[in-house]
C-alpha cells in the first residue's frame, strides 16, 4: 500500500464535523472518550437532549469550579451538570431508553467498521487484556442511528474500514455513517459510499488507506 499525502482533521475538527449532523430536538447518546466532545460543537440554537447510560437525560456542561457534585457524573465518569428539564432514573429505565428505540442517535468510537455495517469496538484479540463491553451492545441493538467517529487508520497505518471485521463484533450491520479524520462515509447495501472528503484530501489517497471499497 503506497502512502499518499493526506490531511487529517484533528480531534476538535472531527467532533465539530459530527456535531453538524446532530439535529434540533434529538435525543443523543455520546459514547465514552472522543464522542463526548461532540456536544460542545453543536450549533447554537439547536436544543439537543443528551442521555448518559448511568441514569441521566439532559446532561449539561462540566460544573463551574466549586460547584462539583461527585455523584453527578456521565458514562465517562466525568463530572457533569444537569440541564433544565433533566431527569434521573435507574439502570433498567436507562437501558429501556437505549434498547427500546427511544434514543435517536448514538455516536461511538470503534476499532473497526466493515462495509456491511458490522461494528467492532469492545474487545481486541489480545486474551490477556480483559474485555469491557459496557453499554455498547445495548446501544447498537436499539438506537435508530449509529454514528461512528474514529481515525481512518490505526497508529501503524493499518486500515480500520474493512471488508469484514477481524475483532469480536459489537453488533451486526448496525452502523449508519462513519466520520473519520479523512472522510465521511455512509454504510449502504452496496458498501461504503462517500459523502465527503475532509478538506484538502483526494479520493485516491483515502482509498489507498481503506481496505474496503469506497463508492463515489
Amino acid at each position: 500500500m503506497t502512502l499518499q499525502a493526506v490531511k487529517p482533521l484533528d480531534d476538535a475538527q472531527l467532533a465539530a464535523r459530527v456535531a453538524q449532523d446532530i439535529p434540533d430536538g434529538a435525543f443523543v447518546n455520546l459514547g465514552i472518550g472522543k464522542p463526548t466532545h461532540v456536544s460542545v460543537y453543536v450549533p447554537e440554537g439547536r436544543e439537543v437532549i443528551y442521555h448518559s447510560e448511568n441514569g441521566i437525560l439532559g446532561v449539561g456542561p462540566p460544573p463551574v469550579p466549586g460547584t462539583e457534585d461527585p455523584e453527578l457524573i456521565d458514562a465517562s465518569k466525568r463530572l457533569v451538570t444537569a440541564n433544565p428539564g433533566a431527569s434521573y432514573f435507574d439502570h433498567c429505565d436507562s437501558f429501556s431508553m437505549m434498547r427500546g428505540g427511544h434514543i435517536d442517535i448514538a455516536v461511538l468510537g470503534a476499532y473497526q467498521v466493515a462495509e456491511n455495517g458490522d461494528l467492532a469496538n469492545w474487545a481486541t484479540l489480545d486474551e490477556t487484556f480483559p474485555p469491557a463491553v459496557g453499554g455498547a451492545m445495548d446501544l447498537v441493538a436499539g438506537v435508530r442511528r449509529i454514528l461512528v467517529m474514529m481515525r481512518h487508520v490505526n497508529r501503524d497505518g493499518s486500515p480500520k474500514l474493512l471488508k469484514r471485521c477481524t475483532y469480536p463484533l459489537t453488533g451486526l450491520s448496525v452502523v449508519s455513517r462513519v466520520y473519520t479524520d479523512l472522510a465521511v462515509l455512509d454504510v449502504t447495501p452496496d458498501g461504503f459510499a462517500l459523502v465527503e472528503l475532509a478538506p484538502g484530501n483526494n479520493l485516491d489517497a483515502v482509498r489507498s488507506l481503506t481496505e474496503a471499497a469506497i463508492l463515489a
Partner: protein, 221 residues
C-alpha cells in the same frame, strides 16, 4: 417495623464465604463504600461480586480484590482508569470474569427480582457474548435468551432512608441500586441521612419491602 442497624458491621455480618454479593454503583458514584469496608473487615472470602465495574484505585471493590476476597466478578466494564487490582488478579488467573452487556446485566438482575425465568434481548445477538445461548427469531429479528441473575446479598448506597427501609437517591448515584435491592435474598443499604420521620411516599424510589437492613453512613465519596 424497624430495619435500622447499629453499624455497617451488623449489616454485613450474615455474609458467608462463597456468597454472591451484588454491589451498587457506577464509576465512582453510588458505591456503598462503608458496607464494602465492613465486608472486608468481616472477612468473608471466595465471593462472587456482581457490579457494573470492578473497582478503581484502592477503594470499594478494588479493596476486596486487593485483599484476595473475590473469586469471580460479573460485570459489564471491568477495565477503567485505575482498575489496577482487578487487572492484577485477572492477569494472574486469580479471579474469574463474566462480562455481560450493561443493559443485559441490569435486566438479568431485574428478572431475578421480578420473579421471571429470563428474557429475549436483541443485545449481543450474533456476537461472542451470545455464544452457547439459546436464540430465537421474533418478527424477523434475532434475540438472545438471558437468564435471571440472583444474589445472596445486595449492598446498596442511597441518599435518604427511613426505618421501613424506604430509599431515595441523589443524582446519578441511583444506577444499579434499586434493581439490585430487588434481586438479592438479603439487601442492606447505607444511607447518607437516616430519617426519624418516614420518607414522603411520593419520593420513595426503592420501596422498603426490598430492603432488609439500613444503616447510616454519612460520608459521600
Amino acid at each position: 417495623m424497624d430495619k435500622r442497624q447499629k453499624d455497617p458491621a451488623c449489616s454485613v455480618a450474615p455474609i458467608a464465604d462463597g456468597a454472591t454479593v451484588m454491589i451498587g454503583g457506577f464509576g465512582s458514584s453510588g458505591i456503598p463504600l462503608g458496607l464494602i469496608d465492613a465486608l472486608l473487615e468481616h472477612g468473608a472470602t471466595g465471593l462472587t461480586v456482581v457490579s457494573n465495574n470492578a473497582g478503581a484505585g484502592n477503594t470499594g471493590i478494588a479493596k476486596l480484590l486487593k485483599a484476595g476476597k473475590v473469586a469471580k466478578v460479573i460485570c459489564s466494564y471491568p477495565r477503567t482508569p485505575g482498575s489496577i487490582w482487578f487487572e492484577k488478579r485477572y492477569e494472574a488467573g486469580e479471579v474469574e470474569l463474566e462480562v455481560v452487556p450493561q443493559g443485559t446485566l441490569a435486566e438479568r438482575i431485574r428478572a431475578a427480582g421480578a420473579g421471571l425465568g429470563g428474557f429475549f434481548t436483541p443485545t449481543g445477538y450474533g456476537t461472542q457474548l451470545a455464544q452457547g445461548k439459546e436464540t430465537r427469531l421474533i418478527n424477523g429479528r434475532g434475540y438472545v435468551f438471558e437468564e435471571p441473575l440472583h444474589a445472596d446479598f445486595a449492598l446498596l448506597r442511597a441518599e435518604r432512608g427511613d426505618r421501613f427501609g424506604n430509599l431515595s437517591y441523589h443524582a446519578t448515584a441511583r444506577n444499579f441500586n434499586p434493581v439490585m435491592a430487588m434481586a438479592a435474598r438479603h439487601s442492606v443499604a447505607e444511607v447518607r441521612h437516616l430519617s426519624d420521620q418516614p420518607l414522603d411516599p411520593e419520593h420513595v424510589v426503592t420501596p422498603g419491602i426490598f430492603v432488609n437492613g439500613i444503616v447510616e453512613y454519612g460520608v459521600r465519596p
